[in-house]
Symmetry: C2
Subunit: 351 residues, 2 copies
Amino acid sequence: MTVATSTAMRTIWWDAGRVRLIDQTRLPHELAIVVCETVDELASAIRGMRVRGAPALGVAAAFGIALAAVRSEARDGGALLADLAGAGRVLRATRPTAVNLSWGVEQMLSRARQLAGADVPTIRQAVVNGALALAEADERACRALGRHGADLVPDGGTVLTHCNAGALAAVAYGTALGVLRAAWEQGKRFHVLVDETRPFLQGARLTAWELVQEGIPATLITDGMAAHFLKAQVQAVVVGADRIAANGDVANKIGTYGVAVVAKENGVPFYVAAPTSTVDLSVPTGEHIPIEERSPDEVVHVAGVRIAPAGVAAAHPAFDVTPARYVTAIITERGIARAPYADSLRRLVES
Amino acid sequence: MTVATSTAMRTIWWDAGRVRLIDQTRLPHELAIVVCETVDELASAIRGMRVRGAPALGVAAAFGIALAAVRSEARDGGALLADLAGAGRVLRATRPTAVNLSWGVEQMLSRARQLAGADVPTIRQAVVNGALALAEADERACRALGRHGADLVPDGGTVLTHCNAGALAAVAYGTALGVLRAAWEQGKRFHVLVDETRPFLQGARLTAWELVQEGIPATLITDGMAAHFLKAQVQAVVVGADRIAANGDVANKIGTYGVAVVAKENGVPFYVAAPTSTVDLSVPTGEHIPIEERSPDEVVHVAGVRIAPAGVAAAHPAFDVTPARYVTAIITERGIARAPYADSLRRLVES
């Protein structure tokens, strides 16, 4: 297996009728590739967080519909569309918070529906091509988003990030880390504080790994340390998003809301980096975003070792909602949105 | 080995010229007892966090001076006092933030100094008796503190705590958990959210263990979840302290400051429970409290498993400072202090 360099790295890709993806549960210890031949295998990989991150999930959903198209034994276009819709239901049900899953499914289904009268090979090919185009567009969006956001990164300061909104959360390049990559490529120099991001440790395992590969100086901290450093040493926070409501409320990995509150309290700008596909104009505020509850087992175990006594319960909301009033700006591939977000986000999404 | 029930449990005790203590690094999986025969052995147990928690460290320091008195081969009182002072330097140097270490040492040394003209057996016995009295006083203080604080605990609500300020952080009963125990004994019913408290997991390992033993309903959460629950579900926060400055700024386990900021932002009262021995009137504000830096290895490993890639740095400030403006009240064994703390704390300490 060849280990790609980080800037060339792809998190998920289409390979002759199969989906290949980096198994993110095995990083940073091992760079292993999972091969999914069916929608069910891909859905299982998504539920198990072998692939995660909102933009990557949008692409995974599109590839999932493409897998369904390739595997379908339908004899006519109508039956094929029914198969694709079924696959869409399976994929949408895997994880409720990241809107990109639904978005990726919908992009593919609407493409297929436009060919409703066509034969099976035509629709099949259109869906596969659509998924490939969507994956390419994701990478272009991350690079554009990075260029827009790079201006906001302080030169010579410290930036804090939570979870992983890196190349591993997209097809490549990343959103929050895309902003940092773009700033670094422009010659800005800074230091990144990486929240470890319990329970799943995306910061410790994934963001730290990407930054080490990139050669950007990074220091790992526990989530509880973020506030301490925000009080004195941090000039900006950049995070990703799993869903952004029409009013600018941001659902992101659990722990983000606390970082945002403490950042505001200390006058530190709090930036959210996400493609417009993460903005869900159908959801008026963050209160309407469903928050995924994952297994408490992921809280009471770390790296396979139990850390808590028998008999104690554990909670595991996988995301939280940061109200828009804590968000300094939302960086998208089409430009930067600022408050009032109801106007600025709609303009960017509909442009 | 007999496992004591939680209310009768002692964290550290004197046993015929030796110090015995529960090895808190091995909980919750094993209730093991460490025996310290010398000051160096005890200092090593403190540095290794086998015994931790501000009140417990005050008692450990006193027992350490008693160990020095028992082991000393001094032929006269002056030489014995010199040996005790040397032991005091070793003990004070183990951990810089918890003022109770210095306080416990000073309590014993001043007792010994008052007997400066006496013979070795007399001073030795006075120091041992003094340490035993200090340990008993610690437990009485926790129980008194608990009674004062119990009034502040909501009946039927949810309380959040960070780290372990329980029986394991004192000789028995605890400070923050002492408040909850006292409220529970009074018949109040509530639910406790326990921050796991990375990197050392005192919440997951110690607080959860104490609450399970006590039969108080508890739910373990990761540190990043605290803010999410403070937004909607928590009626009060109760934590301990490692040092309280004259103005009411509170040094406590890393992560406390973020909890306090988010609590205030959401109108949730934030209570600090600590004996007056934790108040350091010689320190005007929190900025003057030394913050212990521990090994980054404790951040990049969990339960012996490495969680981060090679090549990434890690930071490990063991404490943070919560400015007094975020503290709703400080609960001591002599009553409850409220802002302005410069007045209220001095009154309680000097009463």
